[in-house]
Structure formats: structure tokens, C-alpha cells
């Protein structure tokens, strides 16, 4: 692709990411998830052919039409080769028509209709987030199949090696092969739980992009965009329009609205108090608001609702000093009661510190149960470092910042902490 010019290159990248998730979903529906590999191969071959032909002839008028047409023909070849293969299951009343030359092309055409694709994408999401697949494998699979990431890109995002990623993918695909999982939209009884799993995976994915604790760039914009796109699909599909879905969407809008202000040009972290709020994306904040309104139904308030409300408090404060810490603290107290976790406790403590000062915050922090778990967490030490520096206990502050540096995986975080130590010593 390097010989396409820059704007064309970007269009192609974006188009390829978008269209490959649709193509993989339809093909997996046709071939069965036990043949996910075959579906991915067709998509790969299609994109490769596009690159080669478009390089010479330019991008066609209807690029996605072009891609779909080529993919359909390749799929027909796969069907012809595998008509009698034990790996492929044609027992379905519609799929059986794929085995007849009379009906192969027309049936294939039917599977690719626009109106079916959104549901196919949804089925694919549910399959990737199957409850018997581990959380890491869920995200790895979603990134690979639905977000168009290569194994190399996934390895980079999680600071692991390609071999590990490949092994994860292999094991997940083995699981599909052995259990012949059907691609379905879960039944009414199951859909709430299954959607929760998908939301969980999407949120983990978003956090990977947003915080990138495991990679060198702090903000992986592609990962964020993909997480938001997947959630948007859920907001648009009748089956999955739960309040939590809209709340998570709002939360991601509010967080990503601040993306441009979180790093310097050199890639260093800028903390909340110092962020240039003029760089915050007001359109995203408005969208977040719209989603918050849409989330306000049903009788359950989820953790996503509360986190979104907190994010909104930050987004709506014109300056850091205008932040409504009292309300934020109330929200954190609520959050900690419905979703107790070390990270929520720490974030609550930050709000407490802003409201009541570092000394009181230190006392509060020491009241937390289950400190053993916290002590392995770099943010705990980073917070203690901040608290101790505010009460002018410089040696304790330095010690905790150094511990935090050892515990974090992120180069950018380490640099931030290093700078905090330098500030102390001056």
C-alpha cells in the first residue's frame, strides 16, 4: 500500500477496517464459526486484491461494493471446494441451497444484503464475547476479527509478543471448532447477561486505548475509535438497547473528548489540572450528553451511569477550579457501593483529597480494606506520593513515586513519575 498517495492511503485504511468487520461477520455466518479461519482468509485475499488493483487503477466509485463483490466470488469458490467437507455444515434450510449450482450464486447474494449485515455484526460480537472464553481472549479476538488489527498490532497494544497473541487466537478458534458454537443473537432470557459481557469487553478495550498502560503511546486512537464503534452498534440494534449500553457510550464520549489535551507534542502526560480545556472536543461532549439522556430509563443505575456522570462533571467544568468535587465524591461513594473495587476506592480518595485536603485523604486511605491488593497497584503508590508531597513529607513521597515507577508498564507514566520526583527535589 505504500505506493498509494497519503489521503488515498488513509481512506483505504479506514475503509478496510470498516468493511472487513462486515465481511468477516457475513462470511462467518455463512461458513460457520468453526471455519472462522476460512472467513478471515477470504477477507485477507480480498483486501490484498484491492490493494493490488487500486494501486494501478485508483479507488473505484463504490469501493465497498467492489470489496463485497470480490469477497462474494471468493466465498463461492470456498463453498465449491468444501461442498462435501465434514468441516462445513450445510444442513440449514437456506445453506443447503449453496450446494446446488442452480442456487449458489443467488443464495450467496442474499446472505450479503445490507439489511442482514448489522445483525451479523452483532452475532459476531456475541460470539467473540462467549462466556466460556477468557476476558483477554475475548478482547484479542474482537481486535482481530471485528477491529481489523493484525497480530503485530495486538501484540503492541498489550505489550506482549506475536507468538502469545497467535496462541490465544488459536486456542479460541479451537474452542469454536470443538463446540460448534452457533452464531445467534441470544434469547430474551440471556441477552442482558450476554450484552453485559460484551460491554465489559468493550470497556476493557477502550481502557487499553485510553490509558495504554501496556504500550508506548499513551493514547491509541484506533483502539478507542474501534471500542466506540462497537458500542455504537449496540446502541443502534433493537435487541441490545439497554440503559447500560447508552451509559457506556456516554462515558466513552466524555473521556475521549479530552484526548487531545492529555499529551504534549512529545508524548508526555498532562494531568487533569493542567489540561487545556479549549482542546476538549465539545461535539463529543454534546454527543455524550445525548447518550446520557438516552441512558436515563429502566430502574437500574449501572456503574457506567455513575462513571459517565463523574466524567460529565469534569467535562462541564470550565476550569479545574470550578470542578464540583462534592458532587463527584458523592458519585464515587455511590459507585463504590454498587461496584466495589480498589481502583474505585483510589479514585474516590482523589476526590476526597481535592475536597478535604491531603491529610484527611491519607487517613481515609488507611481505612481501606484489602490493602494487600492495592500495594501491587502503581496508582496506589502514585496517589500516596501525591498526598505525601502535598503534606511536605518529601522522603515518603519520593519512596512511593519510585515504587509506582517500578510497578507501571507504561514508559509515559514512568516519565511523568520521574518528573514528579524531580519537582520534589527542587
Amino acid at each position: 500500500m505504500s505506493s498509494l498517495n497519503e489521503p488515498v492511503q488513509q481512506l483505504a485504511d479506514h475503509l478496510f477496517r470498516n468493511e472487513s468487520k462486515k465481511m468477516v461477520s457475513v462470511l462467518t455466518k455463512i461458513f460457520g464459526i468453526e471455519n472462522l479461519e476460512a472467513a478471515e482468509d477470504v477477507v485477507q485475499d480480498t483486501l490484498l486484491q484491492a490493494m493490488n488493483v487500486w494501486k494501478l487503477k485508483g479507488i473505484p466509485n463504490n469501493p465497498s461494493g467492489w470489496l463485497f463483490r470480490v469477497a462474494k466470488n471468493k466465498a463461492i469458490d470456498v463453498i465449491r471446494r468444501n461442498k462435501y467437507s465434514v468441516q462445513f455444515d450445510f444442513s440449514d434450510n437456506e445453506k443447503i441451497l449453496l450446494t446446488s449450482e442452480y442456487t449458489l450464486a443467488a443464495t450467496m447474494e442474499n446472505f450479503w444484503k445490507e439489511e442482514f449485515i448489522k445483525d451479523d455484526l452483532l452475532r459476531m460480537m456475541f460470539a467473540c464475547c462467549h462466556p466460556e472464553i477468557s476476558k483477554e481472549n475475548q478482547i484479542t479476538l474482537m481486535l482481530k476479527t471485528l477491529c481489523g488489527f493484525s497480530t503485530a498490532e495486538i501484540a503492541k497494544a498489550f505489550l506482549t509478543n506475536e507468538g502469545t497473541v497467535s496462541k490465544r487466537l488459536y486456542r479460541t478458534k479451537e474452542f469454536f471448532r470443538q463446540h460448534k458454537i452457533k452464531l445467534v443473537i441470544p434469547s430474551i432470557d440471556e441477552i442482558k447477561n450476554r450484552t453485559d459481557s460484551v460491554l465489559n469487553a468493550i470497556y476493557l478495550l477502550f481502557n487499553e486505548g485510553y490509558n495504554s498502560t501496556n504500550s508506548e503511546e499513551l493514547i491509541r486512537k484506533n483502539v478507542i475509535a474501534e471500542a466506540m464503534m462497537l458500542c455504537k452498534l449496540l446502541t443502534e440494534n433493537d435487541h441490545t438497547q439497554q440503559p447500560e449500553v447508552f451509559a457506556l457510550m456516554a462515558l466513552m464520549c466524555f473521556h475521549s473528548a479530552r484526548s487531545d489535551s492529555r499529551l504534549t507534542a512529545e508524548g508526555e502526560i498532562i494531568l487533569l489540572p493542567m489540561q487545556d480545556r479549549k482542546k476538549w472536543n465539545s461535539r463529543l461532549i454534546d454527543q455524550g450528553n445525548e447518550y446520557m439522556n438516552k441512558a436515563a430509563f429502566g430502574n437500574i443505575v449501572s456503574a457506567y451511569h455513575i462513571e459517565a456522570a463523574i466524567a460529565y462533571e469534569h467535562c462541564s467544568a470550565k476550569f479545574f477550579k470550578d470542578t464540583n468535587w462534592k458532587r463527584i465524591l458523592e458519585y464515587y461513594e455511590w459507585l463504590c457501593s454498587i461496584s466495589p473495587s480498589p481502583i474505585n476506592e483510589l479514585n474516590k480518595n482523589v476526590a476526597f483529597m481535592e475536597l478535604y485536603g491531603a491529610e484527611k485523604a491519607l487517613k481515609e486511605l488507611q481505612l481501606i480494606n484489602n490493602k494487600k491488593k492495592l500495594e501491587t497497584y502503581y496508582l496506589y503508590h502514585s496517589l500516596l506520593g501525591e498526598i505525601y508531597s502535598r503534606i511536605h513529607n518529601l522522603s515518603a513521597a519520593k519512596e512511593h513515586f519510585e515504587t509506582a515507577m517500578r510497578l507501571t508498564h507504561s514508559e509515559t507514566e514512568r516519565n511523568l513519575l520521574k518528573n514528579k520526583i524531580l519537582v520534589l527535589l527542587n
Binding site: 434450510n93 437456506e94 443447503i96 441451497l97 450446494t99 446446488s100 442452480y102 442456487t103 443467488a106
Partner: protein, 116 residues
Amino acid sequence: MKEFLLLFRGGETEMADQSPEQSQAHMQRWMHWMTELGKQGKFVGAQPLAKTGKTITGDKKVVSDGPFMEGKEIVGGYLICKANTYDEAIEIANGCPLLEYNDGIVEVREVHELKM
């Protein structure tokens, strides 16, 4: 449920005389007929056959080109369906678009279970 083989013969000359739009519409009716069978769970398989072929005869296994029959005798394709009786199978066969042509022939043959 038994299985019935439908053999398609004839219709060649009339098919050749059709305009592209008519051909298109005709093919869609084949598609529709088979899809309906699929939905009812009665479709087992179907394939069109090339017009040329080979014939092997006798214990000397003589291979010759052919069969060379008149258009209306050569088998153009087949479909296997599920049905309980001949009457049901005939009702299925009645839906075959080949029968829109005067010289279209659908032969209906029950698959015979061999007693070993």
C-alpha cells in the same frame, strides 16, 4: 419421508429464443422454486448438467462421446427432493419452471430402498 429424483429434459429451443430479461426472470423462478423447497426442508440437492458427456458401454468398457440425443431427450439437470408419496412429489414437480415450455419434461422417480 422418501426421496424422489426429478430429471429435467427439453425446453432447449424455447429457452434459446428468450430475451435476456425473460431468461433472467425464468432463472429467478427456478431459484424461487428451489428456495421454497429449502424452506420446507424438502430440498436434498440439485445440479445442472453440461450438455456434453461420455458414455461407457459393456464389458469392453468402450468409451464414446455422447450421449447424442435430440435436445428433448438429453438430461439437462436433476433435483432430489423429500416427499411421502408420488402425489406429493408430482405436486413439487409441478412447480418446476421447465414446465412453462411445451416440450419441457420432468421425470419423477422414487428412490428405491434396497433390501439387502
